[in-house]
Symmetry: C2
Subunit: 476 residues, 2 copies
């Protein structure tokens, strides 16, 4: 189900209900970029190095599509195990919001990532015109404070120039309140001065039951519902800031719902995604990798990376390519198919019915695929298909693969959220060669080393190689 500004408000309760009912939630992000040129990943990164680089990238780039698939075992099918998928595909854009404003409003875009998304048919107009904004906890608190600060500013005094405008605006609002049942009305306001006048009128004359929000060349005035008024009343110290915030669409509410429901979080090769989700939809990423791990543990009891699972679960060693698309294909046929439970889409989630590769790299579809391969691999791995997914996830061989995030291009194979990573020991003679000329390829290096016997050549970064000789005698 595609979700944008057009339908976020009515859909959000369905999102929360789907999450509350789910056995787990699979997530995926599309981003404006992946790595920063000045923070390239290195084979030799230790956990703090690697996390530090991903943190910088998460601060610079933005999530532009968030996929969340809430998967629940069906209770209506008694004779067979059936899972029900509810994949949501959110367009996300860090737009500014009327009075709340946003100070840190620059972000970084990578042209290659844009070209890649264009190759997948990504709709950039939908993104920028209709993307749902987001404020993480720190940003929301800052917006509250800023809004409260704005409210302390002296009101614009009534004078000859604005008297008519103020009078007409009050009359228009009163007429609407008395004669119309529409929830909103629009007051024309061609610039910031007039918008401020409208905010001021709503604040001083209708505070507590109306709320104003800036639109293009206008201000929208809206009646608060009874519940909204109660929430406003509870925060009496900061009434109007809270009233404005209540009405703000904030896609962080989706992530807050996942956290609140304490559902297992599932992703595929998801370290980068999780860093972005935390940075933009939860709170600023901490500097230290240990603090970050602790935060994750507080938010989620278990995180499962399906790429780690595919690589490291002992029963899955026959799987070759662990890219998401390949895994979907591999787990759709025997021997996985034989033990795999059935997955159906809930009513209203028909976008991906019968879909194949055409939706790959749409966040909602990738989240759905991730949920599907978890179900297929988890059911296959312990060779038990008829019990509940939660029982299967509690199985020891799966638990051993839980809370471990796959690492690309690293001699550490994973980040362990629960404890310290094991640094692999290398007993064969190993050298780091620096300043490797740009035009040399791995094959060229292997040819140069042929007299030393079998050599493992891995790139540390663009100009450094790690060479491990299998024949220790060659250098003894």
């Amino acid at each position: 189900m595609n979700v944008s500004l057009d339908n976020y408000k009515p859909v959000l309760p369905k999102v929360k209900a789907a999450i509350a009912e789910a056995d787990f939630v699979a997530i995926d992000c599309e981003l404006t970029g992946l790595q920063l040129a000045e923070h390239q990943l290195s084979l030799l990164d230790n956990p703090q190095h690697r996390y530090g680089k991903l943190r910088k990238a998460a601060q610079a780039y933005r999530v532009i599509q968030l996929g969340a698939d809430a998967e629940a075992q069906s209770k209506v099918h008694a004779e067979e195990t059936v899972y029900v998928a509810r994949p949501f595909n959110f367009y996300v854009f860090p737009r500014e919001h009327g009075e709340l404003g946003r100070r840190d409003s620059n972000f970084t875009v990578n042209t290659g990532s844009m070209a890649f998304l264009a190759g997948q048919g990504f709709d950039f107009n939908q993104l920028i015109y209709k993307g749902i904004p987001h404020w993480n906890n720190r940003q929301e608190a800052a917006a509250m404070e800023r809004t409260a600060g704005n409210r302390q500013k002296a009101d614009i005094p009534e004078d000859d120039q604005n008297r008519d405008y103020i009078k007409e605006t009050i009359e228009a609002i009163d007429t609407w309140l008395q004669q119309s049942s529409e929830r909103t009305m629009t007051v024309a306001a061609s610039n910031g001065y007039y918008r401020r006048l409208v905010y001021q009128i709503v604040r001083n004359k209708y505070n507590g039951f109306l709320v104003a929000q800036g639109k293009d060349m206008a201000v929208e005035v809206k009646r608060l519902t009874v519940e909204e008024r109660e929430t406003v009343a509870k925060h009496a110290g900061n009434v109007s800031a809270r009233a404005a915030l209540i009405d703000v669409d904030n896609v962080s509410d989706v992530v807050r719902a996942i956290v609140k429901a304490r559902k297992p979080l599932v992703g595929h090769n998801c370290l980068t995604d999780i860093c972005h989700i935390m940075q933009h939809f939860w709170d600023d990423l901490p500097e230290s990798v240990e603090t970050w791990k602790q935060t994750i543990r507080e938010l989620w009891d278990r995180v499962i990376d399906t790429k780690y699972l595919a690589h490291h679960h002992t029963h899955l060693s026959t799987i070759g390519n662990t890219a998401l698309g390949s895994l979907v294909a591999t787990t759709s046929v025997a021997p996985f198919k034989n033990v795999c439970a059935k997955i159906v889409f809930a009513d209203g989630f028909d976008r991906y019915i019968g879909a194949s590769d055409q939706y790959l790299h749409e966040a909602g579809y990738d989240a759905y695929c991730t949920g599907a391969i978890l179900l297929r691999m988890a059911c296959f791995a312990p060779h038990v298909s008829q019990q509940s997914i939660m029982d299967i996830l509690d199985e020891n061989s799966i638990l051993r693969c839980t809370n471990k995030l796959y690492l690309m291009r690293s001699e550490l194979r994973y980040l362990d959220l629960a404890e310290n990573e094991q640094v692999p020991s290398i007993s064969d003679p190993t050298f780091i060669v620096s300043g490797v000329p740009r035009h040399l390829r791995t094959d060229d290096l292997r040819r140069m080393l042929v007299s030393l016997g079998a050599a493992d050549v891995r790139w540390v970064d663009e100009a450094r190689c790690r060479i491990t000789l299998r024949n220790a005698d060659a250098v003894s």
Copy 2:
């Protein structure tokens, strides 16, 4: 006329012809952002400060739409003065290009600028799917070098895995060369490895008369024209890099044509636009403002900023609001209308016929408006309407306003491209007040100072004010 990847190649000769015939070229840019938060403009900026801040912004942000309006006095109308407008509106995007690549491929986007453009109906899909790429001189040279470097890499050796693919590709190209008159053919290449194989085949077997360019999941192979082959032959030392570059769409060619034709450059409040045009379509901006001025003087004999003209020409002192839209309105009626020459659109340039505000902030339309207000103001200012525009631009009162760029929010009123700026002397008592609390407005400050008599309050930046007292006795 909208120009994108779809029609850039056939339209470029028309662009060059229009520029060659023009009396002047008016330009405008739409950008991904304006100011950087860490380099806010200050009232007290000296020329180097101000230029340095704009240079940083031009390095971070990108041009996404370039407007160029070539205006020429009609030779076919004998009895009246008629100008012919040819406004081009280029969608511009810094996309990567097959073998050439692009290293500095990150850029900065401001959410407010995106929201502003969305408010104007900007088509972001057209931008990212169809925007024309650009390489400035330094980037083009680097791409050449990189391409040449790539070519030095050892070829991928033929082996059992790629033998069939190589054979089939050569057969397909040979068949196309022998049997088809199509200028291009496409070879499927699902990843970088296969693309490299195709480049390698074209380079080694067809070098000098075919050129290969990466597409999505494929490589396009193209016959070179006779002229292209000659150009390639001239650069024998670097044949294939040059061959690849020849075929690259590069919107910098538009700016190079303006420079080559030595046409006057006209912009409205155009300091930022000129910095961006130089940075992205000419060469990296130099660090020093003096070197930058020297470069501009080398590129253009005269630059006219219509906002400066409107503010500072003695005959135009009755003009109130100098925003582009207001100036268009003001100069469309008496007394301007009485002396104003007629402006018509050339054949094929019908997009803006009868247009009014709906196209404002589309770069092509803003460039057209800028050209139009120059013609109207310049004809009005010297009170002579029947001579050629070039004679009018040579008139002393216009020359005094030439090569001066308007400065917003600055106590310098302009940057002078020809000499040093005059720093205005202030004889009245003047103070800089730092640490002004956020919530105070100009009116609040004036009220606080009321006992000191008339005071001029101007913001230096977000937390500093400059206060000038008109009554020196108050502080003597």
